[in-house]
Symmetry: C2
Subunit: 134 residues, 2 copies
Amino acid sequence: MIGRLNHVAIAVPDLAAATALYRDRLGARVSEPAPQPEHGVTTVFVELPNTKIELLEPLGADSPLARFLERNPDGGIHHLCYEVDDIAAASKQLEAAGTRILGSGQPRPGAHGKPVLFLHPKDFLGTLIELEQA
Amino acid sequence: MIGRLNHVAIAVPDLAAATALYRDRLGARVSEPAPQPEHGVTTVFVELPNTKIELLEPLGADSPLARFLERNPDGGIHHLCYEVDDIAAASKQLEAAGTRILGSGQPRPGAHGKPVLFLHPKDFLGTLIELEQA
């Protein structure tokens, strides 16, 4: 079912400082920051040869990252995103196997405009998993 | 400096259950378990088209994962491993920039037999980073 690792998302308290760290200290190629008010985050992508690191800073009062950063004030790895060929079929198959899907359970447009859904961390080794339509 | 994401490591309390979850629930290709007594872990690799997920279970009384799993009993993402072309040069450059390297500060053979070192999570957005000689 799962294909490529699309990205690893790291929540950070200060996006400019985090971007500088990856660009200057680790010598990586980084994107411009992109505010995504509908998701409550601003994103910067670190482009690696085989995948991406998504740096996420809270945006607005109701950011889904606020609680995570309260518990992890230095930042931390927030989720892994795997690509799937058919997200509707994946969702159906996972639910039938007893996996809890967060929110409505229906795929919705994610930060890249493609349909995504999130699996409950308690069902996946303490890791929040995003599935994205490839 | 950094190249490919070599792997994402996930610490798990029960390697057989974690392997079954990735193989049966997510339909991924998984390796046989490999005990690595010198590192205090048993590893299973989940092979994705562009990178690997390394599932890690504690092995022996002094496993470096014991405390992590006490704090994260369901498991959790333990570290990210980036490849570098020249680990000695990377180490020197990072130390000169004020990055703390864990342990002796010298690269030592990692789980794949190649030289590795670990960077202090406090210096990297709350994430433990392994650098591995490509």
